[in-house]
Amino acid sequence: MFPAIPNPTTEKSAAKFGEKDMIRRSASTITPPAKRQTEVAKLIDVSKCIGCKACQTACLEWNQLTEEVGVNVGVYDNPHDLTANSWTLMRYTEYENPESGNLEWLIRKDGCMHCEDPGCLKACPSPGAIVQYSNGIVDFVKENCIGCGYCVKGCPFNIPRISKADHKAYKCTLCSDRVAVGQGPACQKACPTQAIVFGTKDEMKAWAAKRIADLKSRGFDKAGLYDPPGVQGTHVMYVLHHADKPQLYAGLANNPRISPLVEAWKGVGKYAGLALIGLTAAAGVIHHILQGPNRVSKEDEENAEKLAGGKS
C-alpha cells in the first residue's frame, strides 16, 4: 500500500509554493527561480482502476463544481465529455484482446496531464492566464483568462474546456490549493483502490515500476509507464497494461506532442506571419521611394476630356 498522506489540518499554514516558483507564464517572458522544487506527480494505475468515479465526485466536491444532470446514451461515461465543471472523467472501453481472447474493460481517468511542456500555455495569448510552477503543476489563472479557447487547441490531450457561464477556461488544477498545504489532490485521496497515488515524480516512477512488474507477472508483457517524451514528460502518468497501444484507452494519444499545427501556429507561424506582413509593408515603402507616385498626367485628363467631348 502506498502510504496514505496524513489528514489535513484546519490550522492556517504557509503555502508550500506560489508565485516565486513559477517557471513559465503564458505570453510572457519570466526569469524562472534558480532552484526548482521537487517535481510532483499523480500516477494513475489503469490496471487497478475499478471505474467507480469516486475521483469524479471528489473533484466536484472539493472544487465546489456544479455539473448538470445529464442522460444515459448507452455507455457508463457520464458526463459524456469533460466540461468546464467536470475536470476529470472516467472513459470506458470494451476491448476484446485478440491474443488472449479475453474481454478487457479498460477504464481510464481522463484529465489534465500537467505536461512538462504544456501546449495550452504555449497557445495562450493572454499574459499570465496559464502558469507553470517548478513542481510541475500547470494552473489556469482565472483573473487573466480571456476565454479565447486557444488552450483547448494547444493541449495535446484536448483537456481544457471553456465555461458557458463565465467564458473562462477550466481544467484540473492538480488541486494546487491542496498540494500547497502538503495534501494530495482530492481525486487521489478518494480513490478506493489506490489506482491514483500522488507524490514526487521519482517516487511515482519507482511505484509504477513495481506495478509494471506485477502486471508483467500476470501476462501483460507490454505493461508500462505512460510519461510521454513528446511533451517532455507529464506530471500525471499512467500505468497501462498495454503501454504499446495507448490509443486503446479511449483514444489516449500514442505519442502526444504539441500538435504540429499548433506548433506551426504558435511557433514559426507567429514569426513568419509577422515577417511577411512586415516585408510587404516594407516593399511598398521601398517601391514608393524608388518609383514615386503614379500620377495622372495633364495629357491623360485632356485625352479623357477629348473622349468625353467627342461623345457628349
Binding site: M1, P3, T10, A54, K189
Partner: protein
C-alpha cells in the same frame, strides 16, 4: 515540496467535541478575508473537524466532516466538506463516489426540512409543527393498538402482541438508535418489525 508520507497513528478518543461551540471564536471572518494571488487558499482553514462514519455501505468508512457556520440556516453549523479519514484502518482516507459526494446528501434537494403532513385524499404535503405531527401519530397508533392488541391467544396463552401496525427500521442508524427503536417497537408489542438485513 515536502509531502509527509509517514502514517500518523492516532490517539484514542480523538474525535472533536459536540457541535455548537461559539462560532465567533473560530475566526471565520479572517479566513474569508484572506485572498491569495495565484494558489487558492486552503478552504478548510479554521473549519471545525469531526470524525464521522459514512452512512452508506457496510465498509463503514471513516470520514472527516468539516463544518462552518451556515449561510442559509442561520446560527447553525453545517458541513462544508467531507473527506476520508486517513487514519482509519479500513478505508485509509479513501471514499467511493457516494462517500465522496456525501455532502450533497446532507444538502440534498429532497432533504426534509420540517414535519410534513398529507391529509387523506389530498394531493400535497403541508408543513406542520412537531407537536401536531407527534400528537396525531400517537393518537393514530393508540387507536389502532387499542383496537387490535391481543393479550391472550385462542389457547389462552399470554401473547401481548399488536400485529396490525408495521415498523421498518433503518439499517444506517446507530446501534443506540437501533436499541431505542427496538425498545419502542417491541415495547408497543409489535411483531411486524423488519430492517434491510433480509433484502
Amino acid at each position: 515540496m515536502n509531502i509527509e508520507v509517514s502514517r500518523r497513528r492516532f490517539l484514542q478518543l480523538a474525535g472533536a467535541g459536540a457541535a455548537g461551540t461559539a462560532i465567533g471564536a473560530l475566526g471565520f471572518g479572517e479566513a474569508e478575508a484572506q485572498v491569495s494571488a495565484l494558489v487558492k487558499p486552503f478552504r478548510l482553514v479554521q473549519t471545525k473537524e469531526a470524525r464521522t462514519t459514512c452512512p452508506y455501505c457496510a465498509v463503514s468508512c471513516g470520514m472527516l466532516a468539516y463544518a462552518a457556520p451556515s449561510k442559509t440556516n442561520k446560527g447553525k453549523l453545517e458541513v462544508v466538506h467531507i473527506e476520508g479519514d486517513a487514519d482509519h484502518p479500513v478505508n485509509r482516507g479513501t471514499l467511493c463516489p457516494k462517500g465522496a459526494a456525501a455532502i450533497d446528501y446532507i444538502h440534498s434537494a429532497t432533504r426534509v426540512k420540517t414535519p410534513m403532513y398529507r391529509k387523506p385524499g389530498t394531493a400535497k404535503f403541508e408543513p406542520v409543527t412537531w407537536d401536531f405531527a407527534m400528537e396525531r401519530i400517537a393518537k393514530l397508533m393508540k387507536d389502532d393498538r387499542d383496537a387490535n392488541f391481543v393479550e391472550k391467544n385462542a389457547a389462552g396463552t399470554t401473547v401481548n402482541r399488536w400485529t396490525t401496525t408495521a415498523f421498518l427500521s433503518g439499517s444506517s442508524v446507530t446501534n443506540e438508535t437501533g436499541w431505542v427503536t427496538y425498545k419502542v417497537a417491541r415495547g408497543l408489542g409489535l411483531l411486524q418489525i423488519e430492517n434491510q438485513a433480509r433484502i
